[in-house]
């Protein structure tokens, strides 16, 4: 294939470096320095996609991030698929594979095109809202239709093989944009010694100067760019980031930059390189020099391939040496766009006409065009375009002075390219990100950055300064000012580089070109290309009563595509305003939110994926658990053994075996994950008395006590055993999941309410391994591993703890029980945990020492009616609801946390839901946890629900199921029957009973 639109000379491309790429399966050639878009245009590719609603063929209209149509799917392999890449921002590399994303079966030969009219009728403005009001069944029909017809790209089905990362940066001066203003600013800030970060989305610095014919300091602009970049490179206090889009400007001068490190090199990042990087920048001062986007005009069939934004045509001609056509008609409301016609003519292509909407334009560029012999038609507009897959001609007609209507006869001009310019919209997106509302300016005919609380300055065409000389001056001043503001010495009056001022006449504030027919009957005039929003659609929205631009946008979907309305939003606002007889600022403003351009999930995730997505916590015995076939359960970030199945065992088999072994001989649980907080200080006891509901004043050294912790509302939020290690030293245990929350809770009360109490907290969860040995043979087993701890039943009683050695290492042994059996919790330094665990198994073989996990722990405690905070509580139950009034002190002097809350009217009323045991009539039936209790299973739905089941298991030791749950007034309904209707229609019948199913007198643990 030849590059038929490539010019013989010029451009910033490397003609000696030919690259081949594919688009929709065909191979083409381009050059190094091309974007995918410029290479496609060089090869005469007119159609790059189909429109969403009407399925109309669409071509490239812009040359930067504002491009709405050339949104392609990239990737040579399944794993490297990237959706929604703007061809205008993708640099060409050898072997690049691209495909159109919009169009079915393909962009060029589109089945939907034949039913496009039907699609349009099916999707008028407000389509989504109207459709959602209809029955769900109809939506399904629409949805499949839309999905097949549209969709912008697809996700890869395989994992991304590349690496992405994040980099934190601190800058004194962060400069956004490396055009004339940004480069001037960087130079001043750099010279002051400030740490400067300058980022630009393009492949090289220079911005508009990369395609400009203007001169700076008497040199071609590109030469000034090269010299400036060279000087900036010589500073070691400057970081320059090309291919880096500042995508978000967040609170407190925090900015996120999406850097595409290797996307321009190959399909996959080269070995050892990061594909994309997200810079997280905290800047002292920011200079926004983000430039402006040219607005296209809105006119009939302005979406036919070959209709482009004027400056984009200049960029393709001057920077990429591509003339995307042969015969040009230019329509403009301003002087600046005349340059495009001059560039086109300079490239040796034919300018059919310049159509100026102004009656009597005067200015240097107009003179230049006339002198060059270009035909200028004034007081007129292109009201319609002919052609379907490519422009074949235009209709030109005279219009009145304010551009409101067509005033004369229509001329036909034949051409293949139409360029239009409605003026320039400052790129104010970043200034909006932190909530600043932009302000309309009638002279600029655009929105300018509004007031901000950020430490932010702006320079160049973002301020509506469209002269090169002014941009250089603003950049120079603001760069120095930012450095001064950041605490450096700089001269804010330093001279800027100089450029000639081109005398320009006033521009016309025109957005929507009239047609000789009313808008609703005129050819479609597109405002938002990605969502097929037309001028008629916006007018319809205002007729239907949508007066706020925010509502119009949501009703029409204007600005909701991946281009976020960069080209269309201002035009759409202007059309809505006119239709409502309001000014643009009266209609509203336009707010942009991060991200400025779409960002990949890879860059957002960085290294926080796979193994590094979330930390995992392992106990020091984890290796043993893995080797012994444990199934694991996630508890917070902990990996806890769930159960230890043996060959051929089902889960229930394993649980039965583990439970029986523990009750009949001895079992062992890794309880290291329990939260452990070391508490010291002379006021420990007083503090504990204030945060627990029970008494702590008299707990002697060497003793342990169970405690309940409530919130100020009186509701239980955690529990655990706390031991007195010394007169001023306690060890608190918490639930595994509550450890961090409890520590913060203690610190909160200590620091904000009771700073006078001398008490210190330290988390020691990770420092200790906890091995719970439980069962009738546990004492005998422990005796084999210690010679300095007296395990005698009368010397080491239930709820005592002793210090000594266990398997030769220092240990604290607590005689506490969560199973109801004789039970010891051995605490050793975490790095001895595995050693002691293995020694226990060596000695324990003769007792059939059996490891068990969290599930058996749950069953054993449920047989005893012990609650688990967070499973049997949900933040709405107080200790009395749990039948744990025994754990609530009445006479403590200090009104501890929870006491007043429990006394609230709602807490002391009758008829509260209370925790009870549930004995199923069928002993084998296990009620599902969460099942709802009812009194009468035959009551029509909705039934009166009395409560729900919180814990329910099959007990192999007892030979029947055990369950706990809430039942309204349950504690006074012992012996009554409740029913649990299940989703499958069956009903389980249960009798309300005590939750203590096993050994109510506690004889098993007192041996």
């Amino acid at each position: 294939m030849t590059q038929q639109n490539r010019l013989q000379s010029g451009g910033r491309i490397q003609r000696n470096k030919a690259l081949s790429f594919s688009y929709n399966g065909k191979t083409f050639k381009g050059f190094e320095g091309d974007t995918l878009a410029s290479a496609m245009l060089a090869n005469g590719i007119d159609v790059v996609g189909r429109s969403f609603k009407y399925s109309r063929p669409r071509g490239i209209v812009a040359a930067g991030p504002e491009e709405p149509n050339a949104v392609l799917q990239l990737g040579a392999t399944e794993a490297t698929q990237v959706p929604n890449v703007r061809a205008t921002q993708q640099e060409l590399f050898d072997g690049l594979v691209s495909n159109a994303t919009n169009g079915w079966p393909n962009a060029d030969m589109d089945l939907m095109g034949y039913v496009g009219k039907m699609g349009g009728r099916m999707m008028p403005p407000g389509f989504y809202y109207k459709t959602f009001m209809y029955p769900q069944s109809l939506w399904d029909t629409y949805e499949s239709f839309i999905r097949k017809a549209a969709g912008l790209g697809r996700s890869p089905l395989e994992n991304d093989p590349d690496t992405y990362d994040h980099l934190n940066q601190h800058a004194d001066v962060m400069i956004v944009g490396a055009g004339p203003a940004g480069l001037s600013a960087a130079l001043q800030a750099a010279r002051s010694g400030a740490r400067v970060l300058i980022a630009d989305e393009q492949s090289e610095f220079g911005g508009s100067l990369l395609h400009s014919n203007e001169q700076i300091d008497g040199k071609p602009a590109a030469q000034w760019v090269a010299e400036t970049v060279a000087e900036l490179s010589s500073f070691n206090n400057v970081i320059m980031l090309p291919r880096s889009t500042v995508n978000g400007y967040h609170d407190h001068n925090f900015l996120t930059i999406h850097q595409r490190c290797t996307d321009h090199i190959s399909d996959r990042a080269p070995e050892g390189q990061v594909r994309q990087r997200l810079h997280r920048v905290r800047a002292k001062w920011v200079v926004l020099a983000s430039g402006a986007h040219e607005r296209p005009l809105v006119f009939g069939h302005n979406d036919v391939p070959g209709v482009m934004v004027a400056s984009a045509v200049s960029i393709y001609v001057n920077r990429y040496a591509v003339a995307p056509g042969k015969e040009l008609v230019l329509m403009t409301t301003n002087d600046g766009a005349y340059q495009t016609a001059l560039d086109w003519a300079n490239a040796g292509r034919k300018v059919i006409a310049i159509v100026d909407t102004r009656a009597n334009p005067q200015g240097e560029l107009i003179e230049k065009a006339r002198t060059a012999g270009l035909k200028v038609i004034t007081g007129s507009a292109v009201i319609d375009v002919q052609g379907s897959k490519r422009v074949t001609g235009v209709s030109v007609a005279p219009i009145d002075a304010d551009g409101g209507r067509v005033t004369g006869s229509i001329d036909r001009l034949s051409c293949d390219t139409v360029a239009s310019s409605g003026g320039w919209s400052p790129v104010i997106h970043l200034s909006c990100h932190t909530g600043s509302r932009p302000v309309w300016n009638d002279d600029v005919i655009g929105f300018l950055p509004g007031e901000t609380v950020q430490r932010q300055l702006t320079a160049g065409s973002i301020n509506g300064e469209f002269n090169l000389k002014g941009c250089l001056e603003q950049g120079t001043r603001m760069g120095a000012q930012a450095a001064v503001n950041a605490g450096f010495e700089a001269n804010v009056d330093a001279p800027a580089a100089t450029a000639a001022v081109i005398a320009q006449g006033p521009a016309m504030a025109l957005f929507h070109i009239p047609h000789n027919k009313p808008t609703s009957r005129a050819p479609k005039q597109f405002v938002d290309f990605q969502n097929d929003v037309t001028a008629a659609g916006i007018e319809l929205a205002t007729r239907e009563g949508f007066e706020s631009i925010e509502h119009v946008k949501r009703y029409t979907a204007m600005g909701f595509g991946t281009d976020q309305g960069k080209l269309g939003n201002i035009n759409g606002m202007a059309i809505a305003a006119k239709s409502l007889n309001k000014t643009i600022p009266e209609t509203g403003t336009t707010i942009f939110r991060p991200n400025y351009t779409p960002i990949t999930f890879g860059a957002i995730a960085g290294r926080h994926c796979g193994e590094l997505f979330d930390p995992k916590r392992y106990s020091s015995m984890h290796k043993w658990h893995v080797e012994n076939g444990a199934k694991f359960e996630d508890v917070g970030q902990w990996k806890r053994p769930w159960y230890f199945p043996q060959a051929g065992e089902s889960m229930q088999d394993a649980l039965n075996r583990e439970c029986l072994a523990t009750r009949e001989s001895v079992g062992i649980l890794d309880a290291s994950t329990l939260g452990k907080i070391d508490i010291q200080g002379k006021d420990c006891r007083e503090f504990l008395a204030r945060v627990y509901t029970n008494a702590w004043a008299k707990l002697p050294v060497g003793k342990c006590r169970y405690g309940l912790m409530c919130g100020e509302d009186g509701m239980v939020f955690d529990d655990g055993v706390t031991s007195c290690l010394g007169e001023n030293h306690f060890l608190m245990t918490t639930t595994t999941g509550g450890a961090a929350r409890v520590l913060t809770w203690l610190e909160l009360y200590h620091q904000t309410e009771w700073p006078e109490l001398e008490v210190y907290f330290n988390t020691v969860t990770d420092q200790w391994s906890t091995l719970t040995v439980s069962g009738p043979n546990s004492r005998k087993l422990l005796a084999e591993l210690t010679d300095d701890i007296d395990l005698d039943r009368d010397n080491f009683k239930f709820m005592d703890w002793r210090e000594g050695t266990m398997a030769g290492v220092p240990a604290r042994v607590f005689r506490i029980s969560f199973t109801g059996e004789l039970s010891y919790e051995i605490n050793v330094q975490a790095n001895y945990g595995l050693h002691v665990w293995e020694k226990l198994f060596e000695a324990g073989a003769k007792y059939n020492l059996t490891p068990y996990g969290t599930e058996t722990m749950h069953i054993l405690r449920a047989e005893k009616g012990f609650i688990i905070a967070g499973q049997d509580t949900d933040g709405s139950v107080h200790p009395y609801d749990l039948g744990m009034g025994w754990c609530v002190a009445q006479k403590k002097p200090f009104s501890y946390i929870g006491k007043r809350g429990m006394a609230r009217e709602d807490c002391v009323r009758d008829n509260r839901k209370q925790l009870v045991g549930l004995k199923t009539k069928d002993p084998q039936a296990v009620i599902p946890e969460g099942a709802q209790a009812v009194k009468d299973p035959n009551q029509p739905i909705p039934m009166t629900m009395l409560g729900h089941v919180t814990s329910s298991y099959y007990s192999a030791f007892l030979g029947h199921s055990v369950a706990m749950g809430f039942v309204r007034d349950g504690l006074s309904r012992m012996g009554e029957t409740v029913y649990y209707p299940l989703a499958d229609g069956s009903v389980i019948e249960a009798e309300i009973c005590s939750p203590i199913f096993l050994d109510p007198k506690g004889e098993r643990q007192n041996v």
């Binding site: 967040h250 609170d251 407190h252 001068n253 925090f254 905290r282 932190t434 909530g435 609380v453 919130g711 100020e712 509302d713 913060t744 610190e747 909160l748 620091q751 904000t752 309410e753 700073p755 009104s895 006491k899 007043r900 809350g901 006394a903 609230r904 009217e905």
Partner: protein, 93 residues
């Protein structure tokens, strides 16, 4: 993301190190047992949630573990000052 000055560490740190803990200066009544239900409910449930200047309690959770107060504009997200628990704000409107 906020840039927060911890008055205990005496330096600016990233928001990721901190947790917000609700409205500041909510003092626990000294005699809870003699509070009415309404007074107790006001203490535990009712908060100002203003648009504009707000005094907030924060904790330097992944730092020094100290609680401290922030005066913040809930509209602009500006942090006007940070100060220790027990001190009073200087910015009140």
């Amino acid at each position: 993301m906020f840039d927060i000055y911890c008055p205990h560490c005496q330096e600016h740190r990233e928001e990721e190190e901190f947790h917000a803990s609700g409205e500041a200066h909510i003092a626990r009544p000294l005699d809870p047992d003699n509070c009415t239900d309404k007074e107790w409910a006001e203490y535990i449930y009712f908060r100002k949630n203003p648009r504009g200047i707000h005094h907030e309690l924060w904790v330097h959770a992944a730092g020094c573990r100290k609680f401290f107060n922030i005066t913040r504009d809930t509209q602009t997200y500006e942090i006007k000052e940070t100060y220790k628990v027990g001190q009073q704000p200087t910015v009140t409107e």
